[in-house]
């Protein structure tokens, strides 16, 4: 089909793939990008928050052009039991700055725009093309791909695997392990449409200001999981995700949990009367530092979700994807300019550069948290939210009980549920994993 030879083939047109293709094309490399969807973005799902810094490094003027929803002025963290939430809200007018720090986005239109910049930079973008196989030479070096369009092999010096969390190519070729139920979460999400004035009134916003809510607690029914509510211009993204292993163990249904979350008395009024226009599901890499696979080899690199580069604690994914895509592309461009071959030894520059960036440093910081959350999910996602909610209610409800008795009752409920030993153990385990 395509006779010419490319400097690089990028598989996938998500955040990582677009960042890689754009960076290489800008540096004059001959890039082919292959995307299985009808258009870039048609297979991509995210909450979604865009972090401006990482985008700005790719496209400095993105604020004037990209389809952005709202810049975030407020972040809410909610701990839920069945009828209440204990919340921490951070809202600051500082975020109403000239160059806002974070935005909500909707991935399909955003990715379409991002892809248009990749094309403008000179890359060839081919949609509706599923890559079926990596092509290797007799020394096992990756030298190209085969697609479902037939027509044989397409060759390149290097293949950038930006195929997402469920990428088949890398796992089929034995370059990395398939994700396991313990290191991926399944999230489901709906898009709820409302007039923008309604959204602004309900979330206390003016103009393009935005709010996101992250919620944990009894909504995940003792499983490791989180819910979220993100305000866009004319719609609200509502979703919930839990570790696949936990779904498998408990037999809970993802849509049942989502509907339950939507009916929570703290969530329901925010989306009341809305019109749902889409239901999506997606896996999220949750394994953290310990789940990062081999990132490069002879003739290939892996970036973004496919490389498990996601910071679940800070809900940062697409910025790690963009950054890893950009850095891999810079390493490749560096080899190209030195006229050196794309060997594993040379491409290890990508791993080195990534280790110097926030991507690996952040994931390393939290390397023990995923396992802690998983093995103690009952305590962190069920017992404590219930205890804390009860303690708060006890604190604020005025009923003639002396305060000292109230405090004693609260303390007793914690000790009864977890024991002194358990409470101290949980606190120290959490502190150690956090550090």
């Amino acid at each position: 089909m395509i006779e010419e030879r490319f400097d690089a083939i990028v598989v996938g047109a998500g955040m990582a793939g677009n960042a890689a293709a754009l960076t290489m094309a800008k540096r004059g490399l001959k890039v082919l990008q292959l995307e299985r969807g009808e258009y870039p973005g048609s297979k991509n799902v995210q909450g979604a928050i865009l972090y401006a810094d990482m985008m700005e490094r790719l496209i400095p003027e993105f604020r004037e052009e990209a389809p952005l929803e709202r810049h975030l002025v407020e972040q809410r963290f909610w701990l839920l039991d069945d009828r209440s939430h204990v919340g921490m809200h951070y809202r600051s007018d500082d975020f109403n700055e000239e160059r806002p720090n974070r935005y909500t986005i909707i991935r399909a239109p955003f990715d379409k725009w991002f892809s248009s910049k990749v094309r403008e930079a000179g890359a060839t973008v081919l949609c509706e093309t599923t890559v079926t196989e990596l092509v290797r030479d007799d020394r096992e070096r990756v030298v190209g791909v085969r697609t479902d369009r037939g027509g044989g092999e397409i060759h390149a010096d290097v293949v950038v695997l930006a195929e997402g969390v469920n990428g088949l190519l890398g796992t089929r070729a034995g370059l990395r392990a398939r994700p396991t139920p313990n290191n991926v979460a399944l999230a489901v999400k709906e898009m709820h449409f409302l007039p923008r004035e309604t959204i602004e009134a309900r979330f206390n916003l003016k103009g393009d200001e935005g709010v996101v809510i992250e919620a944990a607690g009894t909504i995940s029914r003792g499983m490791t999981g989180m819910g979220f509510v993100y305000a866009n211009k004319e719609c609200i993204s509502v979703g919930i995700g839990c570790l696949v292993a936990d779904f498998q163990r408990t037999g809970q249904t993802p849509y049942g949990m989502l509907d339950h979350f939507k009916q929570h008395p703290s969530v329901a009024p925010l989306i009341a009367g809305s019109e749902i226009k889409e239901y999506a599901a997606h896996l999220i890499p949750e394994g953290g530092y310990k789940a990062i696979p081999q990132l490069y080899g002879d003739g290939w690199v892996v970036v973004g979700d496919a490389a498990q580069l996601n910071n679940a604690i800070h809900r940062e994914g697409s910025n790690l994807a963009m950054t890893s895509g950009r850095i891999a592309a810079e390493a490749i461009a560096e080899m190209k300019s030195r006229r050196e071959p794309m060997t594993a030894k040379n491409l290890s520059l990508y791993r080195k550069m990534l280790a110097d960036s926030f991507v690996i440093k952040d994931l390393k910081k939290y390397k023990d948290l995923p396992m802690l959350m998983h093995t103690h999910s009952q305590n962190f996602f069920l017992t404590y939210p219930q205890l804390i909610s009860k303690a708060m209610q006890n604190f604020v409800r005025v009923d003639g009980t002396p305060k000292l008795e109230k405090e004693k009752a609260t303390l007793k409920s914690f000790v009864k549920a977890r024991s002194w030993r358990g409470l101290i153990g949980d606190a120290s385990r959490f502190a150690r994993a956090w550090r």
Binding site: D82, P179, F247, Y255, G256, E278
Partner: protein
């Protein structure tokens, strides 16, 4: 404590846009007489409820509403219970928002 709300997944899938590749299902279930624990888990965990029991108690898959999350692949591909590929280029779910 938690009462499961009655959820019709079919209604949710109705919001989505699909281009179904008729005659080319991208997920297949291995023939079996008694379903494995992994296959049975898919009845509940699949967010599009693509997996159902037939009258003989075997697990069947209908991929038309599949949202291509890959959860079933993570659970049941290692045991050989299912075969999973991406749909052919352009086919499958087409997210308008994503």
């Amino acid at each position: 404590m938690n009462v499961e709300p009655s959820v019709r997944v079919e209604d949710k899938l109705y919001y989505n846009r699909y281009l179904v590749d008729i005659g080319h299902p991208h997920v297949k279930v291995r023939a079996h007489t008694t379903p494995s624990a992994e296959l049975l888990a898919l009845l509940k965990v699949c967010p599009a409820r693509c997996y159902e029991l037939n009258d003989n108690g075997q697990v069947e898959v209908t991929v038309d509403g599949c949202i291509e999350c890959g959860t079933c692949r993570v659970i049941a591909e290692p045991t050989g219970d299912i075969q999973w590929s991406h749909p052919r280029g352009g086919y499958g779910v087409l997210f308008k928002f994503g």
